[in-house]
Protein backbone atom coordinates (compact mmCIF):
# COMPACT_ATOMS: atom_id res chain seq x y z
CA UNK A 1 0.00 0.00 0.00
CA UNK A 2 1.17 3.59 -0.69
CA UNK A 3 1.70 5.92 2.26
CA UNK A 4 -1.37 8.08 1.51
CA UNK A 5 -3.65 5.04 1.27
CA UNK A 6 -2.12 3.59 4.43
CA UNK A 7 -3.09 6.73 6.32
CA UNK A 8 -6.68 6.46 5.06
CA UNK A 9 -6.98 2.69 5.60
CA UNK A 10 -9.04 1.51 8.55
CA UNK A 11 -7.64 -0.77 11.24
CA UNK A 12 -9.17 -3.88 9.70
CA UNK A 13 -7.31 -3.38 6.40
CA UNK A 14 -4.04 -2.56 8.14
CA UNK A 15 -4.28 -5.51 10.52
CA UNK A 16 -5.04 -7.88 7.65
CA UNK A 17 -2.03 -6.53 5.76
CA UNK A 18 0.25 -6.67 8.79
CA UNK A 19 -0.84 -10.23 9.57
CA UNK A 20 0.27 -11.22 6.06
CA UNK A 21 3.67 -9.63 6.55
CA UNK A 22 3.09 -6.15 5.09
CA UNK A 23 5.67 -4.14 7.03
CA UNK A 24 4.31 -0.77 5.89
CA UNK A 25 0.84 -1.68 7.16
CA UNK A 26 2.30 -2.51 10.57
CA UNK A 27 4.24 0.75 10.47
CA UNK A 28 0.98 2.62 9.89
CA UNK A 29 -0.64 0.86 12.87
CA UNK A 30 2.40 1.77 14.94
CA UNK A 31 2.11 5.44 14.00
CA UNK A 32 -1.59 5.38 14.80
CA UNK A 33 -1.22 3.92 18.29
CA UNK A 34 2.28 4.50 19.62
CA UNK A 35 1.38 7.66 21.56
CA UNK A 36 -1.63 5.99 23.19
CA UNK A 37 0.40 2.94 24.23
CA UNK A 38 3.20 5.17 25.52
CA UNK A 39 0.83 7.33 27.57
CA UNK A 40 -0.87 4.26 29.00
CA UNK A 41 2.43 2.74 30.15
CA UNK A 42 3.74 6.05 31.39
CA UNK A 43 0.69 6.59 33.60
CA UNK A 44 1.18 3.13 35.08
CA UNK A 45 4.95 3.36 35.62
CA UNK A 46 5.58 7.11 36.11
CA UNK A 47 8.92 6.82 34.34
CA UNK A 48 9.66 8.06 30.81
CA UNK A 49 12.48 5.62 30.04
CA UNK A 50 10.57 2.64 31.38
CA UNK A 51 7.54 3.75 29.37
CA UNK A 52 9.63 3.89 26.18
CA UNK A 53 11.13 0.49 26.88
CA UNK A 54 7.76 -1.15 27.57
CA UNK A 55 6.20 0.58 24.55
CA UNK A 56 8.91 -0.90 22.34
CA UNK A 57 8.36 -4.35 23.87
CA UNK A 58 4.61 -4.01 23.34
CA UNK A 59 4.94 -3.33 19.61
CA UNK A 60 7.54 -6.06 19.14
CA UNK A 61 5.32 -8.58 20.91
CA UNK A 62 2.24 -7.42 18.97
CA UNK A 63 4.19 -7.86 15.74
CA UNK A 64 4.68 -11.54 16.55
CA UNK A 65 1.12 -12.02 17.71
CA UNK A 66 -0.80 -10.05 15.07
CA UNK A 67 -1.53 -13.10 12.85
CA UNK A 68 -3.53 -14.47 15.81
CA UNK A 69 -5.46 -11.23 16.48
CA UNK A 70 -9.20 -11.74 16.02
CA UNK A 71 -11.12 -8.83 14.52
CA UNK A 72 -14.34 -9.73 16.32
CA UNK A 73 -12.73 -9.72 19.76
CA UNK A 74 -11.49 -6.59 21.52
CA UNK A 75 -10.67 -3.44 19.49
CA UNK A 76 -7.05 -3.26 18.33
CA UNK A 77 -6.12 -0.53 20.82
CA UNK A 78 -7.55 -2.53 23.72
CA UNK A 79 -5.63 -5.58 22.48
CA UNK A 80 -2.39 -3.56 22.41
CA UNK A 81 -3.08 -2.16 25.88
CA UNK A 82 -3.61 -5.65 27.24
CA UNK A 83 -0.16 -6.63 25.96
CA UNK A 84 1.28 -3.41 27.41
CA UNK A 85 -0.42 -4.03 30.75
CA UNK A 86 0.89 -7.60 31.02
CA UNK A 87 4.41 -6.40 30.26
CA UNK A 88 4.04 -3.62 32.84
CA UNK A 89 2.89 -6.07 35.50
CA UNK A 90 5.88 -8.31 34.77
CA UNK A 91 8.18 -5.32 34.87
CA UNK A 92 6.77 -4.22 38.22
CA UNK A 93 7.19 -7.68 39.67
CA UNK A 94 10.87 -7.40 38.84
CA UNK A 95 11.34 -3.80 39.89
CA UNK A 96 8.66 -3.50 42.62
CA UNK A 97 8.49 0.23 41.90
CA UNK A 98 4.85 1.16 41.47
CA UNK A 99 4.54 4.39 43.41
CA UNK A 100 7.08 6.74 41.91
CA UNK A 101 6.17 10.45 42.10
CA UNK A 102 5.25 12.59 39.10
CA UNK A 103 8.28 13.78 37.16
CA UNK A 104 9.07 17.47 37.71
CA UNK A 105 8.84 18.31 34.02
CA UNK A 106 5.19 17.41 33.40
CA UNK A 107 2.95 20.07 31.91
CA UNK A 108 -0.72 20.49 32.71
CA UNK A 109 -3.35 20.88 30.01
CA UNK A 110 -6.17 23.38 30.29
CA UNK A 111 -7.03 27.02 29.66
CA UNK A 112 -5.17 29.22 32.11
CA UNK A 113 -6.13 32.87 32.55
CA UNK A 114 -3.51 34.25 34.94
CA UNK A 115 -0.23 33.24 36.59
CA UNK A 116 -2.11 32.67 39.85
CA UNK A 117 -4.75 30.55 38.14
CA UNK A 118 -2.03 28.71 36.26
CA UNK A 119 -0.21 27.82 39.47
CA UNK A 120 -3.42 26.79 41.18
CA UNK A 121 -4.62 24.65 38.29
CA UNK A 122 -1.24 23.01 37.92
CA UNK A 123 -1.10 22.24 41.63
CA UNK A 124 -4.62 20.75 41.57
CA UNK A 125 -3.90 18.69 38.47
CA UNK A 126 -0.64 17.34 39.82
CA UNK A 127 -2.19 16.57 43.20
CA UNK A 128 -5.04 14.56 41.73
CA UNK A 129 -2.77 12.61 39.36
CA UNK A 130 -0.25 12.01 42.14
CA UNK A 131 -3.16 10.49 44.02
CA UNK A 132 -3.81 8.13 41.11
CA UNK A 133 -0.25 6.89 41.39
CA UNK A 134 -0.91 5.74 44.95
CA UNK A 135 -4.02 3.69 44.08
CA UNK A 136 -3.88 -0.10 44.16
CA UNK A 137 -3.23 -1.86 40.87
CA UNK A 138 -6.71 -2.57 39.47
CA UNK A 139 -8.06 0.85 40.54
CA UNK A 140 -5.15 2.69 38.95
CA UNK A 141 -5.52 0.67 35.76
CA UNK A 142 -9.24 1.39 35.41
CA UNK A 143 -8.65 5.13 35.95
CA UNK A 144 -5.88 5.16 33.33
CA UNK A 145 -7.95 3.17 30.82
CA UNK A 146 -10.97 5.38 31.34
CA UNK A 147 -9.39 8.85 31.55
CA UNK A 148 -6.11 8.52 29.64
CA UNK A 149 -6.91 5.85 27.06
CA UNK A 150 -10.56 6.82 26.67
CA UNK A 151 -11.75 3.19 26.54
CA UNK A 152 -15.43 2.37 27.00
CA UNK A 153 -16.59 0.26 29.96
CA UNK A 154 -17.22 -2.78 27.73
CA UNK A 155 -13.68 -2.55 26.30
CA UNK A 156 -12.11 -2.15 29.75
CA UNK A 157 -14.12 -5.16 30.90
CA UNK A 158 -12.76 -7.22 27.99
CA UNK A 159 -9.17 -6.19 28.64
CA UNK A 160 -9.44 -7.01 32.36
CA UNK A 161 -11.63 -10.07 31.82
CA UNK A 162 -14.24 -8.71 34.25
CA UNK A 163 -17.91 -7.74 33.98
CA UNK A 164 -18.90 -4.16 33.12
CA UNK A 165 -20.50 -3.88 36.56
CA UNK A 166 -17.23 -4.92 38.21
CA UNK A 167 -15.34 -2.26 36.24
CA UNK A 168 -17.82 0.41 37.39
CA UNK A 169 -17.41 -0.69 41.01
CA UNK A 170 -13.60 -0.52 40.71
CA UNK A 171 -13.93 2.98 39.23
CA UNK A 172 -16.25 4.05 42.08
CA UNK A 173 -13.82 2.70 44.70
CA UNK A 174 -10.86 4.35 42.95
CA UNK A 175 -12.53 7.78 42.94
CA UNK A 176 -13.63 7.33 46.57
CA UNK A 177 -10.05 6.43 47.56
CA UNK A 178 -8.77 9.47 45.67
CA UNK A 179 -11.23 11.71 47.45
CA UNK A 180 -10.09 10.42 50.86
CA UNK A 181 -6.43 10.92 49.95
CA UNK A 182 -7.02 14.47 48.70
CA UNK A 183 -8.97 15.33 51.85
CA UNK A 184 -6.12 13.98 53.98
CA UNK A 185 -3.61 16.05 51.98
CA UNK A 186 -5.66 19.21 52.41
CA UNK A 187 -6.08 18.47 56.13
CA UNK A 188 -2.30 18.22 56.53
CA UNK A 189 -1.84 21.43 54.52
CA UNK A 190 -4.25 23.44 56.67
CA UNK A 191 -2.82 22.01 59.90
CA UNK A 192 0.65 23.08 58.73
CA UNK A 193 -0.60 26.57 57.81
CA UNK A 194 -2.16 27.04 61.23
CA UNK A 195 1.00 25.81 62.97
CA UNK A 196 3.19 28.14 60.85
Amino acid sequence: MRRSSLQKADDTQLIAGAAKGDREAYGALYERYVFKVFRHVYYLTSDLHTAEDLTAQTFLKALEAIPRYEMRGVPFLAWLLRIAYNLTVNHKKVRANGNAPLPETVEVQGTLYSPEAACEAKADGERVWEGVRTLRGDQRLVIVMRFVDGLSYPDIAKVLDKSIGAVRVIQYRALSALRRRLEDDLGHYYAKSRAG
Binding site: G21, R23, Y30, F35, Y42, V128, F147, Y172
Partner: protein
Protein backbone atom coordinates in the same frame (compact mmCIF):
# COMPACT_ATOMS: atom_id res chain seq x y z
CA UNK B 1 -25.80 -3.49 46.72
CA UNK B 2 -25.44 0.24 47.59
CA UNK B 3 -21.97 0.28 46.04
CA UNK B 4 -23.30 -1.28 42.84
CA UNK B 5 -26.10 1.29 42.58
CA UNK B 6 -23.77 4.19 43.33
CA UNK B 7 -21.15 2.96 40.90
CA UNK B 8 -23.81 2.75 38.19
CA UNK B 9 -25.07 6.29 38.98
CA UNK B 10 -21.49 7.59 38.98
CA UNK B 11 -20.72 6.00 35.59
CA UNK B 12 -23.96 7.42 34.17
CA UNK B 13 -23.21 10.93 35.43
CA UNK B 14 -19.65 10.77 34.05
CA UNK B 15 -21.06 9.96 30.61
CA UNK B 16 -23.45 12.91 30.81
CA UNK B 17 -20.59 15.21 31.86
CA UNK B 18 -18.57 14.05 28.86
CA UNK B 19 -21.52 14.86 26.64
CA UNK B 20 -21.46 18.44 27.97
CA UNK B 21 -24.11 18.35 30.67
CA UNK B 22 -23.41 20.50 33.74
CA UNK B 23 -22.51 18.97 37.08
CA UNK B 24 -25.70 20.30 38.66
CA UNK B 25 -27.86 18.85 35.87
CA UNK B 26 -26.18 15.45 36.28
CA UNK B 27 -26.78 15.49 40.02
CA UNK B 28 -30.45 16.30 39.50
CA UNK B 29 -30.82 12.89 37.89
CA UNK B 30 -29.87 11.19 41.15
CA UNK B 31 -31.10 13.51 43.93
CA UNK B 32 -30.85 10.76 46.56
CA UNK B 33 -27.11 10.36 45.91
CA UNK B 34 -26.16 14.01 45.34
CA UNK B 35 -24.00 14.37 48.41
CA UNK B 36 -22.00 11.25 47.70
CA UNK B 37 -21.69 11.76 43.95
CA UNK B 38 -20.68 15.44 43.91
CA UNK B 39 -17.11 15.08 45.28
CA UNK B 40 -16.47 12.03 43.10
CA UNK B 41 -17.65 13.83 39.98
CA UNK B 42 -15.48 16.84 40.83
CA UNK B 43 -12.46 14.53 40.99
CA UNK B 44 -13.52 12.88 37.73
CA UNK B 45 -13.65 16.33 36.09
CA UNK B 46 -10.18 17.17 37.40
CA UNK B 47 -8.83 13.87 36.03
CA UNK B 48 -10.44 14.62 32.69
CA UNK B 49 -9.24 18.24 32.41
CA UNK B 50 -5.82 18.20 34.03
CA UNK B 51 -3.84 15.38 32.46
CA UNK B 52 -0.08 15.86 32.48
CA UNK B 53 1.23 15.87 28.91
CA UNK B 54 3.86 13.28 28.15
CA UNK B 55 5.35 12.04 24.90
CA UNK B 56 8.15 9.73 23.86
CA UNK B 57 11.27 11.30 22.37
CA UNK B 58 11.36 11.80 18.58
CA UNK B 59 14.55 9.71 18.46
CA UNK B 60 12.77 6.82 20.18
CA UNK B 61 9.82 7.02 17.77
CA UNK B 62 12.00 6.90 14.66
CA UNK B 63 14.27 4.16 16.03
CA UNK B 64 11.40 1.92 17.03
CA UNK B 65 9.57 2.29 13.73
CA UNK B 66 12.74 1.48 11.87
CA UNK B 67 13.30 -1.59 14.05
CA UNK B 68 9.72 -2.82 13.61
CA UNK B 69 9.83 -2.51 9.85
CA UNK B 70 13.25 -4.15 9.71
CA UNK B 71 12.21 -7.03 11.95
CA UNK B 72 9.00 -7.60 10.00
CA UNK B 73 10.97 -7.53 6.77
CA UNK B 74 13.63 -9.90 8.08
CA UNK B 75 11.04 -12.11 9.77
CA UNK B 76 8.67 -12.12 6.80
Amino acid sequence: MATTTLSHALADCMEFLREGESLEACLQRYPEYQERLRPLLEIAQALEDRQPEVAPSPYFLVELKSKLIREKHEGG
